[in-house]
Amino acid sequence: MPSEEKAPALQIQNVTKTFGKKTAVDKVSFDLFPCEVFGFLGPNGAGKTTIIKMVMGFVRPDEGTIIINGYNRQTHYESAMSSIGGIVENPEMYESLSARLNLQMYARLHKGVTKERIDEVIELVGLTERANDAIKKYSLGMKQRIGLAQALLHHPKVLILDEPTNGLDPAGIHQLRDILKQLAHEEGIAVMVSSHLLSEMQLMCDRIGIINHGKLLQICTIDELMHKAQSSSIYRIKTSNPAKAKEILSEKYDNRISNVNDDTLDIEIEEDQINECVRTLVSSGSDILGVQKVESSLEEAFLEITGGGIRIE
C-alpha cells in the first residue's frame, strides 16, 4: 500500500512529449512510492510506453522533470539511472550470446554486481538450467523472464515493466505476480507495471493510474475503482422506439445514453434513479418492454473513465 510517509522513489512532474503535432504525453505528474505495485492502465496508444520510455531514458521529455530515488535525471543521469531497472516493450538482448553472458555484460555497467548475484537472479526467474543457452533459442516467455532477471540484477529501487505478462503462460503470469508482489511488499521496491488488461491489474496492483490520449485521467486504489464500478451501473431498457425514448431521456440524462439499437438503449444511472427514469418514459407515452441491469465490472469502470463518460477534474 502507498505509504505517504516514505519519500517517493520516482517522481514525474509535468512531463510533456510531442511527436510532430501529436501530443503523446500531456503534462503528466505522479509519484511512485516504495513498497507499492503501481499499475499503469490505458488502451493501446494512450501514452503508457512513451512515459515509460521517458523514465528509462529512451525518449527525452520536451518539458517536465523526472526524479529517480531523489536524483534529477537531467542533472545526475548516472546516479538516477542506477536506481532503476526495467523492461521496455519486449525484453531485447544480444540474441547470439548466452543469457549468462548478456547478464554479465549488463552487470559490468553497474557497480557492485557480483557473480553470485547473477546466479541468484537467474534462479529467481527459474532459468538456471538454460542460462548458458543463446537468447535466440528462448521462447518469448523465457525472454520475459531473463529480461526480469536483468532488470533486477543491480537491486533497483524502482522497477518498471512494460506489459510484463506478454508471452507468459498462465503459470508464468501467476509466478510473475507473486514475484512482483514480493519485491514490492517485502523488499520495498517501487514497481510500476503497464498493461491494457484491467483484470491483470486487479490482481497485482495496489494503485492504478489511468491514462488516455496522453493525459493521466485518474489515480486511484483498486478499492476506489471497484467502488466506482459498483455505484453506477448501466441499465438496458427495451422499448419499441428507442430513438423516441432517447429524445425524452436526453433532457435529463443527456450524455449518459449510449448504444441506441433497434429495440434497446443503454443508460447509465445510479440505482435509485431507475424508478424516476422509467416513470418519465411511461408518462411520455413510450412503452417499456423490459429493464435489465447490465453487469458492471472494473472493465467498464475503466472504459467509462477512458472513454470520456466521466471526466475527472
Partner: protein, 523 residues
Amino acid sequence: MSKIAALYTNEMIKLSRKISAWILISLIVISSIAIPALVKNLFLESASYDMYEPIDKTRITKERDSVKNAIGDPDIYVEHQTLRFTVGDKVEEIFATKLNLYEEDGSINNYAHLACYNAILANYNFDRYPINDTFLAKYAFVEYQNAYLELCYLNRSFFSARDNAWYMSYVEATENLDLAKKAFFEHDFSSFVSYLDTKKEDTYMDPSIIRKIASLDPKGELSILEAEQIIDAIYDAREYQHYLEIGAEYVEGVYIPLTANRRTQIENSLMILNYQIDNTCLISSRDQAAAQSKQFAQKAGRFLLVILLIIIAGSSISQEMATGSIKSLIIAPVKRWKIFTAKLLSLFTWLILGSLLITALTTLSTMMSFGASSLPPYYFVRDGAIKTIPHFLFSLLYFLVDNISLFVYLLLAFMISCLTKNTGIAVGVSTGLVLTSSFTSYFEMVFGHHRWIDFLPFSNMDLVSKIFPYFSFSGYLDSENAGFFGIAQGNTLPLSFSATYLAVLVFIILLIAFDAFNRKDIQ
C-alpha cells in the same frame, strides 16, 4: 572512465562473437600468408634475382651439349641463364658464329646476341673474381668482340683495297684485340683501364665507376647484379646532382623548375642514395620484388579489412537499434556519449589490430619466401643525417597512413548508421565510396586543375607520399599515386593542408554522428 572501459569490454565481446568477423579475419590471414608466397613462386620464378641462388653445377654439365648446338641456331631462343655457364673457352668460336649469322641475314639475332654476351659475362663471374675485374672483363670482352669482328672484316677485304687507312685500322684493331684479350683472359686490367680513360667519350663505360666499385668491394664479394645496381644508382645520383645544379627536374619530357620543397626532397634523396651506395645497402631487385609482393598482399588484406570494418562500423549502432538490443545499453546507467565513445574505440581497436595482423603476417610470409634480409628499413634524413626506421614499424606506419582514407570511410559508415539507423544504407554507401574513390583521381584530368578540386575529400586522402616521401628507397611502389598516365593526384597539396582538412572532416563527421546518436529518441 570505468564505465567507458566496461562498455568497451562489452563491445569487444559482442564483436568477437560475430561469425562474419571471423570469416573475414580468416580470409585476411590466408591472403596475407599466401600472396607473397604465390607471387614469389608463380610470377617471379624466372626473374633476374634468382641469379643469387646457388649455382647447380650438375645441371650445367647436363646442359652443356644442348646449349652448344643452340648457339649455332639463330631461331632458337637461348636463355642466358642456361648458356652462361657453358661457353668457357669457346669465346672465339662464338664470335665466329655471330659473324656467320650477321653475314647470313644482315643482322645478329637479338636473342643470340644477348645470350652470347651474358653467357660470357656470367661465365667469367663463375668463380667470383673481384667485381670490378668482372666489370672490366665485361667491357674487355666487348672490346675483344669488336676488335675481332673488325679484324675479320679487314682480313676479307681485297688486297687492292688495302690502303693506308686500312693499315691504320688494322694496327689499331690488332692492338685493341691484344689489350682486350690480355685483360679478358689474363686479368691484367691496368693498361685496359688507361685505354678506357682515353676513350671516355665513345664508350659507355666510365672507369671512375669501376674504381668506385673497386673501392666498395676490395675482396670481390659482390655479385654481378649487385654491382650493376650500384652502377645504376651512381647514374641516378648523377642525375639528381644534375637536377640540383640546373635547378630543374626532368619529368615526362619536360624540365620543371624545382620548388624549395622539392629541392630539399631531391637533396635528401641524393643523400640516401649515396648512403646506400657507400654502405652497399641498395635495394636489390629481389628486395624490390619482396617489398612489392608484400605491398600487394597488404593491399589485398586491406581490401578485406575495409569490408570487415565497414560492416562493423555500419552496423554498430543501426543493428542494435534494429534488433532492439540497444535497450539494454540505454537502460544501463551510462550516458550516451560514453556508449558512443566505447563503440568508436572498439572500432579503432579493430582497425589497429587488423593492420597489425596484416603487417605481421605479410612480413613473416615475405621473409619466409624471399629471405629475412629482403626487407630493408625506411631511410630518411633528419638534421642532415641519415636515419632509419625498422622495416616492420615502417611497414605498419605506412599501412596505417595509407589507410587514413579507410578510417574516414569507417567514420562515415558509423555516421550514416547513427543517422539513418539502417545498416544496409550505411554499409552500401560507404562501400560504394571506397570502390569509386579511385576514379576521382581523374577529376583533374577531366576538369583541368581547379582550386575546388583541392577541397574534395579524395584530393587529401593520400598522406603516405607526404609522410614517407622516400619509400622507394625501401623498394615500395607508389601504387596509390601512380594514377592513369602517372598523374600524381594530391601530391601538390602540402601535408599541413591535407592533414588539417582531414582533421576538420573527421571532426564534422563525428559531430554529426554524435549529435544524431545523443539527441534522437529511441523507439
